[in-house]
Amino acid sequence: MPRIDVGPTTLHYQQTGAGPDIVLLHGFTSNLAMWMFSGIVSALADRYRVTCYDLRGHGLSEAPRDGYTSDQMAHDYLALREKIGLGPAVMIGHSFGGVVAMHTALIEPDAVTGVILSDSYFPGLAHLEPNLEHAEVWQDLRGTLHKVGTTLPSTIDFDALFTVIKNLTPEQSQAIEDDLGPAATRWLSQIPQLGETTAARETFEAAGLTADALRRIKHPVVALYDEHTPFRATCDFLVENLPNAVEDVVPEAKHLALLENPTAFVELVERYLKRLAPVSSEPPPAQPTHT
């Protein structure tokens, strides 16, 4: 199995294709499989070397008790990068994965050629998002869990979420699956290991990636925010304050564009990659003619 010891932990990764390096970083409580299910790996692998990996505590990577800030995760990536020999890469990050990508660009600029953000919330910009704790995505989740007789706080609290999920009965898990489909079970299954860590607290720390630090990132940044994003103010800040950022909108999505509108998301990524990581468009050499 492709696992790499990066020092403080061991990371699980997948790589396919050939060409300029593209790195995919999933969000908090997700895993690398989300990229494969969305079709983006298949869409890019014919002209890029696509690497995706499970952040520490997620998927098939190890789950150390602590070390879940974006700063630590950026260092995880840099160690992974060195171990498997990646070149400067365009980093595509969903939600917290985008925070890790930007933190990497901040601390090791030469490792990154550009960043594509998918609906990322930055702890260092928390002051811009006073309504975060009431985000619709949380209220949806709260409603789902309420139907099976459990209670989540009205504001975002991942520690509470982890506890609720850890204590679900098989009947409650089945009811959630009946309500949301197999995707819910896939997501729920990895939550317990995160509940044993400090991730719920540390992923919400700025860890040095403040508003001023973000302003210093000169890389090309594409802010792909969902049509119904809870983080509109964050997107506006990035476009107005970063020296080289543009924005675009993924229609009919409200935070999980990869699941909610994968076709539009992949098309937008491919469009921007033509600028961020151009690939030679020369036609393949002619085949010899046999007569």
């Binding site: 199995m1 492709p2 997948q14 396919t16 895993n31 690398l32 499989a33 989300m34 990229w35 494969m36 299910f37 969305s38 079709g39 790996v41 298949s42 869409a43 692998a45 499970d54 998927g59 098939l60 489909g181 197999p182 995707a183 079970t185 896939r186 997501w187 299954s189 990895q190 994968p262």
Partner: protein, 96 residues
Amino acid sequence: MNQTDTVFTELVELLRNFPGREYSGDINPDTLFFGDLGFASIDAVLLGEMIQERFNCEFPFHEALAALAKAGASDLPVGQLADFLRAHLQDASAGR
């Protein structure tokens, strides 16, 4: 035993011995990877890695998953996975 039976049988053996999963029921071509076997998405990735090891080939599991999503399906019958694997092995042996 023809190749069709062999690929399916070996796939079932991998599924029965999957780390951390216990499934003692019947596994047939219509058995659903997620709904019946209770697998998670990351399990699909791990299964892809196990297939690569078992069949000693590079197995583009991401293509199977992408095709699944593109078809609007939310689950994967084991028989369909065996078909995909069989086609891939045939392509590989033909050098395509």
